[in-house]
Every structure is written in C-alpha cells, then in structure tokens.
C-alpha cells in the first residue's frame, strides 16, 4: 500500500494535468479567437446533424409526394419541396452526412498521404527527394478536372470513387508543404539519435518525424475539409460525383433545380447556402487554428 500510493499518484497527475491543459487550450482558443470558435461550433453542429439525420429530419429524404411537387416553403415543408415533392430540408440534413463523410475522408487521405510522402522525401534527400519532387511537379501541373474525370471514368461514380478522385490532387500540395517543414526536422539531434540507435527508416519517418510536422499537417487538413466539400459539390453537379438517390447538396442543385429556378428558387438557393455555410465554418475554424499554431504569427 505504502509503495503503491505514490506510484498511483505519479501515474495519475500527468493524465489529469494533460486533460486540464487541453481544456485550458480550448478555453484560450475560444476566448482569443471568437470567429474560430464560432466556426468550430458550426462544424460540430454540422457533424451532429449528419449523425442524427434520421432523428432530426422531418421527412424521409427519398419519399416522393406528388401532391406537393415544387411546393414553396411552408409550415409543413420549411424549405419547400423539389420536383418530386421531396422535402428540401430533409434532403439538406441527409446531405450533410454525405458532405461530412466526403470532406473528412478526402482531407484525411490527401493530407496524410501527402505528409508521409513529403516527410519521406525530405528524410531520404538526394536522388529520392529530387525524383519525388519531379513527380509531384507533374501532378501539380496536371489539370484537376482531368484527374477527376479519369478516375470516375475508370472506377465509376459513387461516394468511394469520388473520395479518391478528390484526394489524389491534394497529395502533391500537402507533400510540398510538409516537405519544407520536414527539411528542418531532419537536422534535429533526435533524428540523428534515432538513426544511430539503428531504427529502421519507416520507424524514424512515422514515429519520430511525422509527429513533428503536426502543425502544417493540421493546417492542411482543415483547409482541405472545405475544399473537398466544394470539389464534391462541383463534381456531383457535373454528374461525375455522388449519384441519385443519395442525398447530396451538389445533386440537389442539378437538373430540376436549374430548370425550375424561376418558379421554385428555393430548390437552388438552400442547398447552395448549406454548402457555403459548411465550408465557411471549416475555413473560419481552420484560419484561427492556423493563427494559433503558426509560431511565426504567434510571435508577432
């Protein structure tokens, strides 16, 4: 017992302290960057709406009601109905699920693969670095729409393929940014130490270097979230993204929404507002996070 207690406390304190530090950091972020906190709140709301779509949505997003086609906003249908009499609000609520899944999947995939490639390129240096840089140059110069068109033509439409099509062009940009941070980290004594200890390349890259490019990684990640949602909406609008009957914001703007825009403008207005608001929130949060994380800006 006498021996056990101090050990218990010693193991306990850092845990509690870490938690307290987290809470303090979040509190500081909210106080110093109110715009960022608002953004974070809207993002959180969006995620919750997406998760709880089945509970929140007043109607089934796929249920057609031919008695209420193109109905204007009313008490029964807050944001009106579309050409098939489907409730616009319910479709927007379910659409946020699609947007969040695509946003997070693309951003995580693009930023993470980019970071790994960037760090590895900086770590190996020399010829490998030069080669990776050239390949990234090629992808950077490659028109995005062609990559997306090709991926969709090869793999077909559907949410998974859309994610791949959007994430691939993100990789070279993320690799470029993380590489420049990793160049400095490569010269750190702890990387030398790890190499001297005989660790394998993979371990040094993933365990020692990658965690130290967290700041640029997080900045890329939050910037990509919004971009991915926009890209998904554009691809879907072109008919190359998510396809019916999946409720998606870009899909709601397609076809009938433009055709009936004059008589039923709510069909074109509200999904676009949903896209803008979601991306706006991500950007607001991402911007503030960047200001908080970027030590150069903090020093000023």
């Amino acid at each position: 017992m006498a021996v056990g207690r101090p050990v218990e406390i010693a193991a306990d304190v850092p845990e509690a302290a870490r938690r307290r530090r987290w809470i303090a950091a979040v509190g500081e972020f909210c106080r110093e960057r109110p715009l960022g906190a608002i953004g974070a709140a809207v993002v959180l709301l969006n995620i919750l709406v997406g998760l709880g779509a089945t509970v929140i949505a007043p109607y089934d997003p796929l249920a057609t009601d031919y008695g209420a086609m193109l109905a204007p906003p009313s008490a029964a249908h807050w944001l009106g109905t579309d050409a098939f009499g489907r409730d616009v609000l319910s479709r927007i609520i379910y659409g946020s699920r699609t947007a969040m899944v695509v946003g997070f999947a693309c951003a995580l995939l693009g930023a993470t693969l980019g970071a790994v490639i960037g760090v590895a390129s900086a770590y190996f240096a020399g010829k490998v670095d030069l080669l990776v840089q050239r390949v990234m140059d090629i992808f950077l110069a490659f028109p995005l729409i062609i990559l997306a068109l090709a991926v969709v033509s090869i793999l077909g439409t559907g949410i998974g393929n859309v994610i791949i099509a959007i994430a691939i062009p993100m990789i070279p940009r993320a690799a470029l940014v993380t590489r420049s941070s990793a160049l400095a980290i490569r010269e750190m004594p702890y990387v030398d130490a790890a190499r001297a200890a005989g660790f394998r390349h993979r371990r040094i890259i993933l365990r020692h270097m990658l965690p130290n490019v967290m700041a640029p990684y997080l900045i890329m990640l939050t910037a990509y979230l919004g971009q991915a949602i926009l890209a998904e909406a554009s691809l879907t609008f072109l008919g190359l993204g998510v396809s019916e009957p999946t409720p998606a914001w870009g899909l709601m703007l397609r076809g009938a929404a433009v055709q009936f825009a004059e008589s039923a403008p709510w069909m074109a207005i509200f999904p676009g507002l949903a896209i803008s608001l979601a991306v706006f929130a991500f950007n607001l949060f991402g911007d503030s996070l960047r200001d908080a994380l970027d030590p150069r800006l903090r020093a000023q």
Binding site: F142, I154, F237, E262, G272
Partner: protein, 317 residues
Amino acid sequence: MTKYIVKRLLLMIPTLLGVAVLIFFLMRIVPGDIVELRFAGESSYAQKENLDKERARLGLDQPVWRQLVTWMAGLARFDLGTSMWTGAPITEEIRLRFALSLQLAIMATIVAILLAIPLGVIAALRQDTWIDYVVRVISIAGLATPSFWLGIVFILGLLIVFKWLPPMVYTPFWVNPVQNLAQLIWPALAVGYRYSAVATRMTRSAMLEVLREDYIRTARAKGLWEKLILSRHALKNAMLPVLTVIALEFAFLIGGLVVTEQVFNLNGLGLLFVEAVGHRDYTLTQALVMLVAFVFIFVNFMVDLAYAWLDPRIRLR
C-alpha cells in the same frame, strides 16, 4: 540570370514529358474507346470489320508504344494533330474556346484585383477593428461559396428582379463588344469573387508583415506623407506574394472553370475537356492537358522571374 532562365526552361521539358506520358496512359486505362462509342449509337450490331477498319484509320491498331512515339514526335514539332472525333485540326478546335476561356480569366482577374487590393489594404491598416473583421468574413465567405452556385443565383436574381436574362450564346468580343460583355460579366463576377477572396487574404497578410518593417518606421519617423508611405513603400513591397496568388489562380482559370461554364452555357476549354474525355477523343484530350499544363508551368516560371525582377535581393541561381 540568363543561365537561370535557360536552366528553368530546360527543367520544363521533363515535367511536360511526365505529364504527356501520364495522360497518354491514363486515357488508355479508361475503359471504352472512341470507335466503340461512335458505333454504339447505331441501331444494328456493328460489324467487327468496320470497327477494325475505323481503328486502323485512327491508328489505334498500332502497338501502344508506337502510338506514344508518334504522338510525342508530333508534339516535338508542335503538331497536335487532328481531333479523333471531329477530324478537324486540334488547333482549330481549341482556338475559339481558348479565346473565350482567356477572356473570362482576364475579366475575372480584373474583378479580383479591383476588389482584393483595396479591401486587403484597408483590413491590414485597421487590423482587429470591425472593418478588418468584415473584410475577413467577406473573404472567407468568398472561399466558401461555390462559384457555379453564385452564378445560378446571379441568373436567378437578374431574372426575378429585372426580368432579364444575360445572352446565352457566345459572341466574340470583336464582333459585338456589348453583347459579349453582357454575357461574360456575370461569370466573371461569380468567379472573380472567389478569386478576390484568395487575393484579399494574401494582400492583408503581406501588408501586415510589411507594415512592421523598419523602413516603414523610418519613413514615418522622417515625417513622410502617410499616403506616400503606403503606396510607395508598403504596397510595392507587399505585392510580390499577391502577384503569386493572382498568377497561380489565373493559370487555374484556364481550363479549370468547367462547372461555371456549364451554368452559363459557355463553350470554354473546361467543357471541351469533359466532352473530349466523354468521347474518348485521345488526341484532343492529350492536347488539352498539354496546353493547360504548359500554361501552369509557364505562369510559375514567369512568377519566379517577376520575383527576381521586382526584388533585387532575390538572386536566382
């Protein structure tokens, strides 16, 4: 300097070669080919000999490596060949559409510059006041709003408020400038807003950085007129990064405006891309990709040169 320019120009070649090889094989991985697509429209079952004959005519019966070599040899002579779908020379196919995309890109750039520089400078000068917050919210909203949706809203607004629709058929500027501008100003505004958002943010942060420099303090200390300090000392030095984002966005606009072109019924390069891939028109797609990649690489190169020219501290090696 000359050595640097030559080196950079030579470095363009491997990148363009890489792009060429990538698009060549990418198009051939995409299932289906132009011959199948063309004959699929016919009601009767297409004869196999007919398909083979058509393939032979287009050179698709050759081994892939020989097709690649033939195409590359053409590229080296700046010969893009003919479109597989229409049979017309590709330069003909691209010319009008390139003119349209270029004009739209230039107009959007003007909109962006007119909005971004004053807004960015004011936000930087009034940092952390309500003006700054308003400008930042406007620019973040610009990044968040899909241009094509803004285009739909513009059309809708014009239709509902003024009972007027912008012309939906393209008229070249030299034929009828009024008609031309009446059509293109709306997409230019829709695209320019997003574009200006990128540039406003850059202007603001570059100005903030420059305003903290010693030479600004010196200029103020010697009692220089504030307007002069801003225009001659601050803005001039803050312009470099702004120039970069403006140039890179410009490069993106050439061929990147697929959805906006769709909304405004504009036959620009973006839609041509979609058509070309849809038809599996290998030669046209390849030519378009090379064009867009070249514009991107070339603009990057020009930006680097402009840096060295505008900022004598930068030595290019």
